[in-house]
């Protein structure tokens, strides 16, 4: 998602007077988002905290997060893209017909009021969740929302931020970006990085049966992926590193138990706004960390003859 207009959660805390959550349910999925970063905190330019801020929730159903919102807008399922494009058109002053927006579940008045609130904000932020980025339209929805945030800067200061899920997914994007130039789905089989979502993304690779071995760490695809993808993981030699014996471990050839990240393994993780934070583990694990195990596998492979002819740029990203 290159080129997004964004900021840190610290800026949201100190400046944001309009907070929009789109397709996310922070009350249940990011429970401290409201209290630690967005709504209730007093900030430098929002000294009265919640009183100085307006929150709008956009979703397809009324989740517990609606209770925290000043305004809840219920969009018909799979109509987020239409709502976003209509908002962009209104903001550009184009004429919209009431009939054409009816299919979105919102009226033209609601959309005009929404657009007006967005323009009038002093510092607005659009947080978007998987209800937007994982439903019909997918990354096109995210792109429309990011474009909306960028275009609103013609009127006021506006930013957008994805509500990233659990663990260190954000760190994964960041690390892959600075080591390979791409955020995910990077194919290194030619000795240099190639990026093509849909071709080199895991589910597509597994469904086509392209991979003939897999190393899974920090995830349990055996519990989350489509069944045909799981079937392929069971067919090929799969290796799992995890603090527990997971669903994937049960279908794998090799499982290695590792220390739990942040609980007994130290290191760095990225917050959803791409701020790196150090971990302070409270326990000592009897198991090695993922970092140690991956490094040892690397060293074991490095002892074998190289698969590329010598001198063909083999170790650009070498970590050791």
């Amino acid at each position: 998602m290159g080129g997004k207009v964004t900021c840190t959660l610290g800026e949201v805390k100190n400046r944001a007077d309009l907070i929009v959550y789109w397709g996310g349910n922070p009350a249940e999925c990011h429970p401290r988002h409201f209290t630690k970063y967005t709504l209730t905190q007093k900030g430098k330019f929002v000294p009265n905290g919640r009183k100085d801020r307006t929150m709008i929730l956009v979703d397809i159903r009324e989740t517990p997060s609606a209770k925290a919102a000043d305004l809840f807008l219920q969009v018909r399922p799979s109509k987020d893209f239409e709502v976003l494009t209509t908002l962009r058109a209104i903001i550009k002053g184009q004429r919209i017909h009431a009939e054409t927006v009816a299919e979105t579940g919102l009226t033209l008045e609601q959309l005009q009021d929404f657009a007006e609130r967005l323009k009038k904000a002093r510092f607005g932020v659009l947080f978007f969740g998987m209800g937007l980025s994982m439903t019909r339209g997918k990354h096109m929805n995210s792109a429309a929302l990011l474009a909306l945030a960028a275009e609103l800067n013609a009127f006021t200061k506006f930013v957008a931020m994805p509500m990233r899920g659990h663990g260190n997914v954000t760190g994964g994007d960041v690390v892959m970006r600075w080591t390979t130039g791409y955020p995910f789905g990077v194919n290194l089989s030619r000795g240099y990085p190639r990026f093509n979502p849909g071709e080199f993304s895991t589910v597509d690779l597994l469904l086509r049966g392209d991979n003939d071995a897999a190393l899974i760490l920090g995830a349990d695809p055996g519990a989350t992926m489509p069944q045909p993808a799981i079937d392929h993981l069971a067919r090929i030699p799969t290796i799992v590193l995890d603090p527990k014996v997971t669903h994937t471990s049960r279908l794998a050839r090799v499982h290695i138990t590792t220390a739990a990240t942040g609980i007994s393994a130290p290191g760095t993780v990225y917050r959803m706004d791409e701020i790196p934070l150090p971990l302070r583990p409270a326990l000592k694990s009897p198991y090695p960390t993922d970092e140690d195990v991956v490094r040892r596998i690397y060293q074991a492979v490095a002892k074998k003859p190289a698969w590329l002819p010598a001198g063909k740029g083999r170790r650009n990203t070498e970590a050791n």
Binding site: G171, A213, L215, P221, S249, A260, R271, R280, L283, R315
Partner: protein
């Protein structure tokens, strides 16, 4: 047993990554998680320092760490297009090692982001 107190511990359960948690631990498990939300508390209490699982499993049977590392290296080395996938619940340091390994074995590296 004396409780050890870890101040400003970091919770990695959700993208908020709250770094103001106070953990009280008795050496084997975390017994108190000040300031964590219910999800964070469950996450911290769900993992202990006990030895609940074998060091490693090969074909479902307990194995030593050294043997499992050799087996993993063999499988990955012999594959034409190995996949390195996941990277959610691991540190950036581990992710960095994983990218290096993916390059060495000529594989694809991917995370939850692609789902």
């Amino acid at each position: 047993m004396e409780l050890t107190i870890t101040k400003n511990a970091t919770c990695t359960f959700c993208g908020c990554v709250c770094d103001d948690i106070e953990l009280h631990a008795d050496g084997e498990r975390i017994v108190e998680t000040k300031r964590a939300c219910i999800l964070g508390e469950a996450w911290f209490k769900n993992h202990t320092a006990e030895r609940l699982y074998p060091d490693a499993l090969i074909d479902g049977k307990p194995a030593t760490l050294d043997d499992a590392i050799e087996a993993a290296a063999d499988y990955l080395y012999n594959a034409h297009l190995p996949l390195v996938y996941g990277l959610s619940n691991v540190t950036c340091e581990a992710q960095r090692e994983a990218v290096a390994l993916a390059e060495l074995i000529g594989g694809v590296i991917d995370s939850h982001t692609s789902l």
